[in-house]
Amino acid sequence: MANLPHPPADFLGLRTALSDRLLPLLVGAMAFLAALGIAGAEASASLAAHWQQDAAAALTIQVPDPQAQDAGNDATRLAAVLGALKTVPAAMNVAQLSPAAVNQLLSPWLGTDPADLGLPLPAVITAHWAGAGGVGALRAALQKLSPGTLVDTGALWTGRVAALTTSLQACAAAVLIIVALIGAAVVSVATHAGLAQRRETIVIVHELGAFDGDIASLIARRILRLTVTGALTGTALALPVLAWLARLAAPFAAPSLSTALLGLPAPLWAALPALPVLAAFIGWGTAQLTVRGWLRTLP
């Protein structure tokens, strides 16, 4: 039976009813926007993590009245605090800011040389905190040694950056949801247009005994092919744009990204292939629902 004729793959005439141009173009645009949205969310999360790490690790210690005697009258308050910090392994890169550096920090508020004002300025020590826990114990120890000493971390900035990151990620999620909804609407409109164009053929096939599920599957398969084509193209076209944006953001990003493929983080590489899969799911599901709903208008 080698000479059996092949059954027509497109007996509903869907190739002409569901154009292979407009729908892939629109879905491609949606995928492009979605790729930018995912990249935005990933970039904000990555940058925020990088900044939060830096901010949380920065330690600033102010020692008021630094030349006065410490609590045990053994040394100056400043020397006592510096000495104590050197015995804490988690406090790294301990360094006292020079008077010139302190003046520079205060100059926006107190003028070019705040020392001329005769104000009692504290000594400022910076360090990098590599401890796993908080700085509560260190703060208490320094307070005991030199009452009035302030230990400040970047916790306030960490919280603010976290809030900013959350809002940016929420915006990205909203963009993705809107893109998905618009994508579903586009597929639904295209499917309705195809059904209108092939109404007579579909009615005949229905009256010859085709199951609703069989008709819906035929149309959904065509839609699936078009949406996947569009989504793959849109995602592929987004890659050079994302690489360019990653290059622009490189100075603010984690150093590890400089060696990543196209400068894009690994989670983004994992998320981008999901876009065509998601588009396929939306296209197939929307087409199935649209066709089955339309067929229910037939007896």
Binding site: M1, L4, P5, P7, P8, D10, F11, G13, E200, T201, I204, V205, H206, E207, L208, G209, A210, F211, D212, D214, R296, P299
Partner: protein
């Protein structure tokens, strides 16, 4: 086999959604036994095609009871309705061939929709094309066929699945006398093999040549049964 009890039919009004047209069929009752044959006759617009549509489940009655092949159709599930349609062959007045399919694929369509194997389909299609005298036109698209050839392809499509019930709406309307006679011989042969046949026609000569009980409809009412 086919049972109508006090069946009424209205259509939805195209210009006024929600409203219905006046009754197209009014209080139709008849019964056609299994293996029977009926002519369906009446003037144009009397409701013949509408009655046939009710039988092949293309319309729902406004009220009344219908059974087709022993199945009440009022609350039939959609998949059950599809399975029932596969047991009914329909020859449409306007052929209704799929324009993008050649003659072979048009005839094979009902069997492919029923997921029959291509081997079985091939043998049956070749046999039926020979039967309707169009073996040499298997690759022709509908627009390449004459009206009479399209009619014969439509008939072949309707009978290729060996339906239990065959409905033909003016099946000889586009055929010359010889072809019409040939088609009627095909239909009566099917009827003798056990298929219930209903043929709507205006052709009284044909009815005289092939005597069978007739259902006559005038203005939506059944005025003759037998």
């Amino acid at each position: 086999m086919v049972l109508f009890e006090d069946v009424w039919l209205t259509y939805r009004h195209a210009a006024h959604p929600g409203a219905n047209t006046p009754e197209v069929l009014r209080g139709i009752s008849f019964e056609i036994p299994e293996g029977g044959m009926r002519w369906l006759t009446g003037p144009s617009g009397a409701g013949k095609t509408s009655l046939l549509k009710l039988i092949y489940l293309s319309e729902h009655p406004a009220r009344g009871h219908i059974e087709v092949l022993g199945t009440p159709v009022a609350k039939i599930a959609r998949n059950q309705a599809s399975l029932l349609r596969r047991r009914i062959g329909v020859v449409y007045q306007d052929f209704r061939l799929l324009p993008q399919l050649n003659a072979y694929d048009n005839i094979a369509l009902p069997m492919r929709l029923a997921h029959r194997s291509e081997t079985n389909i091939h043998a049956d299609v070749l046999e039926i094309m020979k039967w309707v005298g169009l073996s040499h036109r298997s690759q022709a698209l509908p627009f390449e066929l004459s009206g009479g050839e399209q009619q014969r392809i439509a008939i072949a499509r309707a009978v290729v699945s060996r339906p239990k019930l065959l409905i033909a709406d003016e099946p000889t309307g586009n055929l010359d006398d010889d072809q019409a006679q040939r088609v009627m011989l095909l239909l009566t042969a099917l009827n003798k093999l056990g298929t219930t046949v209903i043929v709507a026609t205006h052709n009284t000569t044909l009815m005289q040549r092939h005597p069978a009980p007739a259902l006559r409809i005038e203005s939506g009412r059944l005025v003759q049964d037998g």
